[in-house]
């Protein structure tokens, strides 16, 4: 159906991705990076910011070119545009810190196939004005970062007793290594989701009363 272009830009443009349509917790997209790199808060943050960068840049470019690109090669062009920015982020991180680069592994490059980005390009940026797409992209990116951090912080505290590498637990604290192992990623995300469902259920129950 033809897209209407709401001209006005509201706060909603930005906050949409933060909470209501949070890519990880609500839309369950981009789960691979969300689980793979969140065994430490720092990795989570870096991954989130890199994704945000790509979201903003690709949003801008796709939006600028929205009237030029023919329908048939839409997806192909978007992928190329996104891949370009991802490669830039990749080299950027490598130039900033090799250690961080190693920790994130191939997942920076895998941002290309992160469904959030293509989804945004297709559903939003290709229909909206550049500034708006950028702001929405930033919101989405920050929502993603927030989700990653809420996974990363929990996993790092429990699994290593640290946050951003700083010791926060007492010396004799028994670390729970399961949380930095792969199963822990699944468990923590499952717990967050259950928490949200629980809160939602309680709210709707209270409303019913």
């Amino acid at each position: 159906m033809s897209a209407k272009e709401p001209e006005t830009m509201t706060l909603e443009t930005f906050t949409q991705g933060l909470w209501k349509d949070n890519p990880v917790f609500v839309m369950l997209l981009g789960l691979c990076p969300a689980l793979a790199v969140t065994n430490s808060a720092l990795n989570a943050l870096a991954m989130g910011l890199a994704t945000t960068f790509v979201l903003i840049c690709s949003g801008l470019l796709v939006s600028l070119l929205r009237n030029v690109i023919p329908k048939q090669v839409r997806i192909a062009s978007y992928i190329i545009i996104i891949a370009t920015f991802v490669t830039m982020a990749d080299y950027g991180i490598k130039a900033i810190s090799l250690e961080l680069y190693k920790a994130l592994g191939a997942f920076i490059q895998l941002i290309v196939v992160n469904c959030i980005i293509l989804g945004r390009a297709e559903a939003y940026a290709s229909k909206q004005k550049p500034l708006k797409s950028m702001i929405n992209g930033a919101g989405m990116g920050l929502g993603f970062t927030l989700a990653l951090l809420s996974l990363g912080v929990v996993r790092e505290i429990l699994g290593s007793g640290t946050v951003f590498g700083m010791q926060v637990m007492p010396d004799r604290f028994q670390t729970w290594s399961v949380f930095v192992l792969p199963p822990g990623g699944f468990f923590v995300l499952a717990c967050w989701l259950m928490l949200f469902t629980w809160i939602r259920e309680r709210k709707s129950k209270q409303e019913a009363i």
Partner: protein, 210 residues
């Protein structure tokens, strides 16, 4: 006819975008290349200095059938071992790499070898995926690192890993209790690597002495 025309447009748009991103990327690449190279060489240097106590500068070498050849920075040939030079300008030893399967994945190590004393004088785990809190103690555990200050690598005896607290000989590695598999992997990595390189290295060194 119009179909052909639209096909042309498709190809042109796609091509245009591709060229644009090609340009953007090669720019990025050119800008970040020196930074990355610097990062990499710093990281390598740090590792070499760590496994060769006393070293302050590094020389890159290629050891192959021809013998030991020095390779300069930025040479097209890849170095496969490094020498550490101390403040006095003397060579304190060579840094070599080795690998073996650990508990979860392959463990890669860089170790310092002193040809004079025929000892391993330092070790650093370059990459491993061992269990946090258990296997990953091979990277940080100071008691375990103690093993590699003067480990006999003379090939007269095989380097072996023994149970925690049972080390009696200079060529034995005192394992970490509860992480036998990982400890043994380090032993195997050293054993295999020294078997391969040490005779070659000595032959090449003798050759260069002559």
């Amino acid at each position: 006819m119009s179909a052909d025309h639209s096909s042309m447009k498709l190809v042109a748009t796609l091509g245009g975008i591709a060229v644009f991103s090609g340009l953007l990327l090669s720019l990025t690449y050119e800008i970040t290349k020196p930074m990355i190279a610097k990062n990499e060489s710093e990281a390598l240097e740090a590792a070499v200095f760590e496994v060769l106590p006393g070293a302050v500068t590094r020389e890159n070498y290629l050891l192959d059938d021809v013998g030991l050849q020095k390779v300069g920075e930025g040479s097209s040939r890849e170095a496969n071992l490094y020498a550490g030079i101390n403040e006095a300008g003397e060579r304190v030893g060579f840094a070599l790499s080795g690998e073996a399967r650990g508990y979860a994945d392959v463990v890669r190590v860089l170790y310092g070898y002193n040809p004079e004393t025929q000892q391993v004088v330092g070790l650093r785990v370059l990459s491993s995926n061992e269990t946090p809190g258990l296997g990953d103690r091979i990277e940080k555990d100071p008691a375990f690192q103690e093993n590699f200050t003067a480990l006999d690598a003379s090939l007269a005896h095989e380097i072996t890993t023994v149970k925690n607290g049972e080390k009696t000989e200079p060529w034995q590695i005192d394992g970490i209790s509860g992480a036998t598999v990982s400890s043994k992997a380090i032993g195997k990595a050293l054993r295999d690597s020294t078997h391969e390189w040490v005779p070659q290295l000595h032959a090449a060194l003798e050759g260069s002495l002559e």
